[in-house]
Symmetry: C2
Subunit: 276 residues, 2 copies
Amino acid sequence: MSERVGAAASLRSRFAFNQATAKYWPLPDAVAGCVAAGVTNIGLWREPVAEYGLDATNALLRETGLSVTSLCRGGFFTTDGWYDDNRRAIDEAAALGTPVLVLVSGGLPAGSRDIDGARERVADAIGQLAPHAAACGVTLAIEPLHPMFASDRCVIVTLGQALDIAERFDAGTVGVTVDTYHLWWDDQALTQIGRAGERVAIFQIADWATPLPAGVLTGRVMPGDGCVQQRRYLDAVTAAGYAGPIEVEIFNEEIWARPGAETLQRAIDGYLETLR
Amino acid sequence: MSERVGAAASLRSRFAFNQATAKYWPLPDAVAGCVAAGVTNIGLWREPVAEYGLDATNALLRETGLSVTSLCRGGFFTTDGWYDDNRRAIDEAAALGTPVLVLVSGGLPAGSRDIDGARERVADAIGQLAPHAAACGVTLAIEPLHPMFASDRCVIVTLGQALDIAERFDAGTVGVTVDTYHLWWDDQALTQIGRAGERVAIFQIADWATPLPAGVLTGRVMPGDGCVQQRRYLDAVTAAGYAGPIEVEIFNEEIWARPGAETLQRAIDGYLETLR
């Protein structure tokens, strides 16, 4: 086997299908679809897992041998009951055997203009959760979202900010999520990936295209259909020491309206096309 | 007069109405509306000036004594004919007697993923335009736009990037536009305003609210109706030495649908409420 074929095979084996990409594909169907496509990694979301049942999900995973690359998501530290909810999220991640719980911090409290305070609160919240995460062997992966989400979803908008918080804790307990969709605009992102080193807990890709839809959440497109140089971010996380799974995670109404198996295949194709 | 009343009076006198805030208010009506409201500063856009006529606009300005605080806009360096068009924009700014031409760089060329290259091209373009700007006594004010515009409108998305380019030139020739709407998410913005110093060529305010509309351009709201701490940016530009006009510039379909005089009054009220 040539080196090039080997590299391609290795890239293929690192592919992970984040189930949000086919939002309406029932969990058992998504699992079966992955198995049928030779995909061995899946990223799960708490809501569909809860709907199908945590035990039932685990049984399915054991049966199929699929690995759960991450659980989405904890965070939203400004909502009532955030602490208990995040503890449960950590427990669920541990139960599913995934090493990573993705954290999206949440935005500003209603009526607040105190973004500095909200950011400090994220650090406090993670400090409160870190001992339980460490006890469960789950890494909390702070995800910076694109700055267009700063007010309503995530006050952490750069990898630098995520690392400023993560570095207060043990690297095995608090890391970062590197998602090309959220970071591509940032001329500091590649440098910050280098800074992150072993704190890169999960690597996700999606592509950027305009015009953005109303609400902007569902504007992502398949890798290769937008303007992001996906490959240079893979090179950067690789140089930082990351050799783990690579999730494709897309939120897009048109893609969600397609059959799950078709979406999975498009994700694999776009992934291979942009990363190899 | 107490110091506090003096400060308020001074703030009131620095108010500038960017005409884009009342997009469909004809230029002579907007000028008359400013005069009626005791507003002495207006920010103009090239298209309505061209429609009304440059000479006619100038006659109106002489007659009313209104100052033009900035002309929007040059830039879009990836479009055909950018060089000639930007030279004309500089000429128009000089003819209108405004010291500032706002520059919005433009996004990625169609089909391109080379954001680094596009950013370097902005620096090259400004280098080509700087001699003419200097000869005309017009400051080119590079405006970083919010990162959600990175691909289609403006590859320059932080004040730091704008300054990296501006600092290659004389401060009187190339400065920056500080707009709170575009910078509020950036935890480096206040520091970068300090770095900017005399390069702050124009200060604009608008407020951030969600959900963003489709296309995201028209999501801005009046100062005070969103989550931006306007005042701390005024404090920062003041500390940097800026004592010039402060433009309110809003793009919002609902606001555009209202009578111009009402919009102007709302802009004044929101400005005074958030900045004093």
